[in-house]
């Protein structure tokens, strides 16, 4: 029976080429957009090197000071993190604690040519929390940071730029007027990895001025590695207590009265940095609703197309009813046909999505992006496409199955 349904399905699709194209286009584009978006989210949020321990890592990525007339929002400063976040390291559930700057643009000149790189200043613990893949050498130590040694870890793109891809260990680079000895080379980290991305990593203590040590709002972040995911709530709660304590010592109490922030997961950190007023749960719900809405559009398109196909096939429906097809069997046939269409669209979507991701990687639009099709995501997408494929078939199929056989045999759809 299924074989017969498949034959008819393929023939019908081939016969009505324009409608088939419109349907496939809708399904295909929907899946491509979903898969590209999820690939980007996956690249930014899922546990990939160097953030392989993201399930038990929290970060303090953003702070907001608010007063009656003033609001200041930015990444936290070293001074604040050192005083109010570092005590978290003493909690029994915390394995490691690190403070590092965000990646800032730094300038070098090579043969008279200006080169811009991302420069991140870190402590030694940073390398213990994150899991960088070293191509040469290794990270600098906590001792090197304490002693303000001018050492650097660079990524492979920087090695290519400065040394033409040749071994860089022990060689020197000059960045923002400071000279650093290369002690390690790591694989490129995608720009989307905002807690680890950079081109060059050097010790915090090599900063040109010590003024960073006092600032509450600047461009630093703290990373907290918990012993296990179960320890995260206690750490978050303790950080909120530290925030309340810090509120009593705000640097400008006249203008600012409250301090908000959090020890966040990567996703929570992105939400807090961009849409702070919404709790992460609500953001997830909004994203899910948007995705549903996005998938609903091709579904409605399919419903419409499927309804118009009934007119074409009234005679066939009449014949099948006359020869013993129950309404249920006809619904089954139509759903199978729609699933065939959806599956063809899904395969086309898979191919197109991988081409789009390849093009995105090659374009450099997202620096060092390593976007790839995640088959887990594809399976989710496929499951959703099938679900909506079935959904878009059920109403037209029901209408089809309710056709009166005598009317249907006369070629009338109503």
């Amino acid at each position: 029976m299924i074989r017969n349904y498949l034959k008819v399905a393929l023939k019908v699709l081939a016969r009505r080429k324009f409608f088939t194209f419109i349907s496939l286009f809708g399904i295909c584009i929907t899946l491509v957009v979903l898969m590209v978006v999820t690939a980007i989210l996956d690249n930014a949020l899922a546990p990939h090197s160097p953030e392989t321990r993201s399930d038990r890592t929290l970060g303090v990525y953003a702070l907001k000071m608010r007063g009656p007339e003033n609001v200041q929002k930015s990444e936290p400063g070293y001074g604040f993190l050192d005083r109010y976040a570092r005590p978290l390291a003493a909690l029994p559930g915390v394995e490691r604690f690190s403070i590092a700057s965000t990646s800032q643009t730094a300038v070098s000149f090579l043969g008279g040519k200006r080169i811009e790189s991302g420069l991140r200043r870190t402590d030694g613990e940073f390398w213990q929390i994150l899991d960088f893949q070293f191509l040469e050498g290794g990270p600098f130590t906590a001792e090197a940071e304490r002693n303000a040694q001018f050492v650097a870890v660079i990524n492979e793109t920087t090695r290519q730029r400065f040394f033409g891809g040749k071994p860089a260990l022990g060689r020197t680079i000059e960045v923002d007027g400071q000279r650093f000895r290369v002690v390690g080379v790591v694989r490129d980290v995608p720009d989307l990895r905002f807690s680890s991305f950079s081109d060059i990593w050097v010790p915090i203590s090599t900063a040109k001025s010590a003024s960073y040590k006092d600032k509450w709002m600047d461009s630093f972040q703290a990373l907290i590695l918990a012993r296990g995911p179960a320890d995260l709530p206690a750490i978050k709660s303790e950080f909120q207590a530290r925030l309340r304590e810090a509120e009593g010592h705000l640097p400008d109490p006249k203008n600012f009265k409250t301090l908000t922030g959090g020890a966040d997961t990567l996703f929570e950190g992105i939400v807090r940095s961009n849409v702070e007023e919404l709790p992460p749960g609500a953001v997830r719900a909004v994203m899910f609703l948007l995705m549903l809405l996005f998938m609903l559009l091709p579904t409605l398109n399919l419903v419409n197309i499927n309804l118009s196909r009934i007119l074409d096939r009234a005679s066939e429906i009449g014949v099948r009813k006359a020869f013993g097809a129950s309404s249920r069997a006809l619904v089954g046939q139509f759903v199978v046909e729609n699933l065939v269409l959806t599956l063809i669209g899904a395969v086309a979507g898979l191919v197109l999505a991988s081409l789009v991701l390849e093009a995105l990687n090659a374009s450099g639009l997202i620096p060092y992006a390593q976007l790839a099709l995640n088959f887990r995501i594809f399976l989710y997408g496929l499951a959703m496409a099938l679900f909506f494929g079935v959904l878009s078939a059920v109403y037209p199929a029901w209408r089809m199955s309710k056709l009166h056989p005598v009317q249907a045999l006369r070629g009338r759809s109503v």
């Binding site: 029976m1 074989r3 017969n4 034959k7 008819v8 023939k11 019908v12 016969r15 005679s315 066939e316 009449g318 014949v319 099948r320 009813k321 006359a322 020869f323 013993g324 097809a325 129950s326 309404s327 249920r328 069997a329 009166h404 056989p405 005598v406 045999l409």
Partner: protein
């Protein structure tokens, strides 16, 4: 085999009520070959549709094999049509997207059987109507007479016992019409198929056992 008792069929719209069939009483015995005649619009096809369980009477009773079907639901009616009745239409109503043999298999799709057995029965039915050499063709590649043979093969493939033919020769020239009539007579004589045929053609009607004549929805003979 088929029994109609005081069967009437009325079509109602908001403004008018049209009586298509009025108080029809008809008994068709096993192995009978009857023809239904009458002018256009007299209710011949409506009568055939009622006997084929494609439509329901407004009043009266229809029974198949001694069982009244007035309380049958969609699935039961579908099963009964599948097992007991084969249809042959004037317009053939073959599915153009399917090959000849796939078309013939349609009634068997709604029965539990293996693909192999289904294919064997379809090929046997095609052989029965002399179309063994056209099994892979598509309906549009066949002549009108050949298409009607395919339709007959589809009607008999499940050994339904009753064939309902709505002007089966109406779209064919006289030679092809005779060929189709020959097949129907053969099925009636050799396989004791009960055949009820609507026709306008007195020459065809003469070949059947009995003629039922309708006029304005009433049975006049």
């Amino acid at each position: 085999m088929i029994s109609l008792q005081q069967v009437s069929k009325k079509y109602r719209t908001e403004r008018v009520e049209t009586t298509a069939l009025d108080n029809i009483n008809l008994e068709v015995g096993k192995g009978e070959f009857i023809s239904i005649m009458g002018p256009s619009g007299c209710g011949k096809s409506t009568l055939l549709n009622l006997m084929g369980l494609l439509d329901e009477p407004s009043s009266g009773k229809v029974a198949i094999g001694g069982k009244a079907i007035d309380r049958y639901g969609d699935r039961d009616l579908a099963r009964l049509r599948n097992e007991r009745i084969g249809f042959i239409f004037q317009q053939f109503h073959l599915v153009s997207d399917l090959s000849v043999v796939d078309n013939v298999e349609i009634p068997l799709l709604y029965r539990k059987m293996s693909n192999k057995e289904r294919r064997r029965m379809a090929l046997a039915a095609l052989d029965r109507v002399g179309l063994s050499s056209r099994t892979r063709h598509f309906p549009t590649q066949l002549s009108g007479g050949q298409q009607q043979r395919v339709a007959i093969a589809r009607a008999i493939v499940g050994n339904p016992g009753v064939l309902l033919a709505d002007e089966p020769t109406g779209n064919l020239d006289s030679q092809m019409g005779d060929e189709i009539m020959g097949i129907l007579e053969d099925l009636n004589q050799k396989e004791e198929a009960t055949i009820i045929m609507v026709t306008h053609d007195p020459r065809m009607a003469e070949k059947t056992h009995r003629v039922v004549r309708l006029f304005d929805g009433r049975q006049v003979q």
